[in-house]
Amino acid sequence: MDSDRRTDDELVQEFQSGSERAFNEIVLRHRRRIFQVAMGIVGNAEDADDIAQEVFIKSYKSLGEFRGDSALSTWLYRITFNLSLNHIRSRKLRSFVSLDKIAAVLPGGESPSRRVESVELNEIVKRAVAELPAKQRTVFLLRYFQKLSHAEIAEIMDREVGTIKANYFQAVRKLRLKLGPYLSEKDDHEK
């Protein structure tokens, strides 16, 4: 049977019937996104990889009791979110990347156009995202890049939908403020 044609629900059912291969398929299908979510929160690739391992260890032990009340991906993201927060608490990491490091990379006193010339735009966006508070950053990444709905993010983060929306729009507003000059300059250059 072609694994690509099977849905998450089918894979879960196969695993619950004793198929270890089905679990491998689940891992390969979701590990990248789980890494990205963890990375968005803890900001360290090694830690994010470790968290992804932990997520699948926990899910392996609990998947037998998974009833499918929510999507498998939502359930996995929720585990990821909780483990990532625990990780941050244990290491007392407050931000994705230290602000000092970001400030050191971004040169000051230059015009935005000069900065665009010296630093790639994706690096600027990356750093702007990194500077967001952890909650706003997580909501933004889940919404904008993982394409989850506000309701799904609320379920993952165990918050009200309104709170999630507020976090998201604050994140977008801050990004626009930070990226505005760079994006405008880039657009002008392209014209």
Partner: protein, 199 residues
């Protein structure tokens, strides 16, 4: 759609906007600077992939899965391996362990019989062994002031006690006697030695 609603939509990922909403935004952007900036930012951000923002996993799928499987399937405990391991060396190893345990049991039993020293009988010198037997078979009083007569009485062989007394050794070792030659004997030996010819 109001202007505010349009601005909210432009804050969302661009792919969520319908064609008509997008057309409306582009039309409005010609006269509204804020809408124009929002549209520009939305288009720019939508051009990014998440890999570009947060990076990629450090490990390949195969490495990740292998590491995960190792954690999920820990190696069995030693006793389980000994009992259940199949293959060429499984049964001989099990027999070797059983034999070792048997030897240890025998050693422990003999150690207790040898007087509580926890050493097997064949490790004990003959003197220690006799002492051990005395300790084992005679009562405390008997072993405390042991003499041949009492022992013979205890063993109900009183008729041989005289023989045992005769078997007792001299206090002075025999070699010492040989070293204390009388003066006459010494002179006789020296005389014989002087008369002896070699070759």
């Amino acid at each position: 759609m109001t202007r505010e609603e349009l601005l909210d939509k432009l804050a969302e990922p661009l792919h969520l906007m319908s064609e008509s909403d997008l057309a409306h935004a582009e039309k409005l952007a010609l006269s509204d600077r804020e809408v124009a900036l929002s549209l520009r930012h939305s288009k720019a951000l939508s051009g990014f992939e998440i890999d570009e923002i947060v990076g990629e996993p450090l490990t390949s799928d195969a490495e990740f899965l292998t590491a995960l499987r190792e954690k999920l399937e820990p190696k069995p405990a030693l006793i389980d391996r000994l009992l259940w391991q199949s293959g060429l060396f499984g049964r001989p190893r099990l027999l070797a362990v059983a034999a070792t345990l048997g030897v240890l049991l025998v050693v422990a039993v003999f150690g207790i019989r040898s007087g509580g020293t926890l050493a097997p009988v064949w490790w004990i010198t003959s003197g220690q062994q006799m002492f051990s037997y005395d300790e084992l078979y005679l009562e405390d009083d008997a072993s405390a002031d042991l003499d041949y007569e009492a022992l013979a009485y205890y063993m109900d062989v009183s008729d041989v006690v005289d023989d045992w007394n005769l078997m007792s050794y001299e206090d002075t070792p025999l070699t010492d006697l040989w070293l204390t030659l009388e003066a006459e004997s010494q002179e006789e030996v020296l005389k014989q030695f002087a008369e002896t010819s070699f070759f």
